[in-house]
Amino acid sequence: MSENQNTPGRDVTAPNAAAHPERFDDPGVPAHRSRLTDVDPKAAKRNERLIALIFGISCVGAIASIVVYFAVRPDGTTAGTRLSTALLGTTMAISLLGIGIAAIHWAKSLMSDHEHVDERHTLASSPEVREVAVQHLADGVEDSGIARRGVLKGAAVSALALFPLTFAVPLISSVGGDWNVSKFRHTIWERNKRLAYDPSGRPIRAADLTVGSAAHVIPEASQEEMRSHEWITEKAKAVVLLVRLNPEDLRSDQSPEGETWSYDGIVAYSKICTHVGCPVALYEQQTHHLLCPCHQSTFDMADGAKVVFGPANRPLPQLPITVDDEGYLVAQDDFAEPIGPSYWERLK
């Protein structure tokens, strides 16, 4: 807005005896202010040349992009790909930005900037139009006879309500596989299944674990078994984090009365967070805390994997372990409860 339109001394609303209106009046669209290019043909010419130059730079960018495409071939290294990407993208950007900047500068400096005024019209239809519309609908209802023929209406509605089933039933029955959600309960851990290092699959000897060490564990399986989707899905439930503590540091675990689920300070807990299922992978040796990097649920490995901080509510389920005749760690059984995040029928 221009503040110098009124001279400082001019007082448009000097008090007078007449009553004042309730509100101010709209002063109307401000007067057009000429740009330099409106009044100075030289400036206009200068801008015209500038805009043409920018379009020209855009052309150069586009051609350069093609040149780069053929000239800079990636050499198979990451750096080569990066170079090609950077050059292709930069020349592309020059071609695009040139057009954009030139067009906008053209609009702002050379195209007329006189303001236009369009009238708005009420959106609502006029009463006459509405009346005709309502009459048309009434005529249509009358013609169809839907108001009079109740049975017909019921039959039509039934048919329309039922037909989506022909589509929905085949889709829904197949889309969830076998719909056997009880699979959440079990993993491939079983009695005497050896614990193996992830991802090598090499079985773990209890004697090889030093106090304070942690290991990412999978059930022992052949390399052949591991190359399938079934394995990935089973692994998603079966992964375990194993820690060897000083036996006197181990305050508690989840062994029930009369059973021992840990072996000589070695405890194995499900690696799947009981919050929303991220792998809980950050072990802090000093505090025996296990931290989930997704939402920072923290579990105390020395105290039954109880939750000490964060959004998880339940301890990580413990895998009962022992050693076999050869000194390898083996599972005593599957987990005693479903691993991973909670779900509605988890305890059923």
Binding site: G28, A107, R227, A236, V276, P279, L347
Partner: protein, 568 residues
Amino acid sequence: MSTDTSPSAADAPTTPAGKAADYLDQRTSVGGAVKEFARKVFPDHWSFMLGEMALFSFVVLLLTGVFLTMFFDPSMALIEYHGDGPEAMQGQLMSVAFASTLDLSFEVRGGLLMRQIHHWAALVFMASIVVHMMRVFFTGAFRKPREINWLVGTVLMILGLAAGFSGYSLPDDVLSGNGLRITDGVVKSLPIIGSYLSYFVFGGEFPGEHIIPRLFTVHILLVPALILALIGVHLFLMVLHKHTQYPGGGRTHKNVVGYPLFPVYIAKMGGNFFIVFGILALMGATMSINNVWNYGPYDPSPIGAGAQPDWYMLFLEGSLRLMPGAGTEWVIFGYTLSLNVLIPAVVIPGLLFTFLFVYPFLEARVTGDKREHHVLDRPRNVPVRTGLGVAFLTAFVILALAGSNDLIATHFAMSLNQITWAFRILFFVGPVLGFWITKRICLGLQRKDRELVLHGHETGRIVRFANGEYIEVHRPLDEQERWLRVNYDAHKPLEIEPATDARGVKRPGYKKDKRWQKLSRFFYEDRVEPVTPAELAAAHSHGEHDEVESAQHSPELVSGAENADREH
């Protein structure tokens, strides 16, 4: 007017362009459309191009997306990788989806560029939608007749989230795979249907072998088709309503002041498209994003520390991180209800989106306003709306920051647990503070407007009168500026019928009215009225002890007006 369907021979076009136009018009009546739209007036303001930026980044997404689909293979079949990708990936077992992501990045020239432009465009798409929504909210552009278009826009924003999330997961890398696993955990927490919905999504147990092809269909067909259709509705309604305009001289609810579509907006909008595309190309060229070969193919066991989702998902991540777990998992009749997941992942976003969906209707109700609005509000003139908007954004930003609490902890060497606790408290306190401070600032700015209208701008010129009194000369506002500062409605709280009618009979519906009135008071109890001509005249009379006559309808201003007068 001839009754013949074709123009008379005398009018027959002679130029090639004229002939082509005639040919087309006789078959499509395009002449009517050109007459209607070619010189259609659009108002000019930088904030009106935010929505355009969203639209243009979507166009860029479609263009680069088509390029990517030529080379991406959404298959979960497992292969051992031997290709042009980085050394670390050689010989690894991975899905074809991941391998084809490597191939289109390293073997297809320009492929990595297109992938990076596509990802950046998705981030800019969401960002411009959010900023566009902020513009619409704070200026009241959602008011009648545009409520439906606000709803369409909000649905578009949610579809944008769906598009981003489904696309992000396609390369089947460790990072996005763990994102999907979180999604699975959230889905499982839903009461009754959770487990079945998880099977519905994954075609069995997580991760299975169906999720990538399914997400691919969602990402390249379902969601973009819906987005395109709704963009059509969004733009149709925008043209039908004609664009809103900022307040100013000559701008009313009955007109639209601006520049014609052809040529000014063709050039400006077209130019804007090329600038958006150009900047995205520059980002794709120089800023690497989502280098999946650094994470590796999906394997359910590994996970990276310090992983973040794309920015628009951070609020959900933060919400999940903030919720305390202790005592929030309930067992009812043997069924498990995981409130520690449901509240942050379902209830909180549900509340945020519900606020967006209902706000236009809520505000119209408490304002008792049924008029059409085409002139935008200056945010200061509706202090409670502006405050609520800031409160909403505060909650959103705090959740997003909480989604980065581990990075804040490592970068600033602070305790993760303390940061989490600080955010837990801030999530409740921040929005209230944000609301209160914003509302006070708005009222302050309105008072400043009054002050300026009544007494003009300070000029810095000090004048001494013969009697020794010093005054500073104030320059009155010109009429355009004054109009800008006085042209608004200070809405008053709803007035309702009394509890009993003239004969003392209780009126049904009184209690409901009373509740709405209470809410209306919350909105409009504190308000600053615009200066009236009478007030201005009184201020200009320079009478030392003149009481400003009509100041009584906003008593809090009386003292302010007095003080201002004494400066003279």
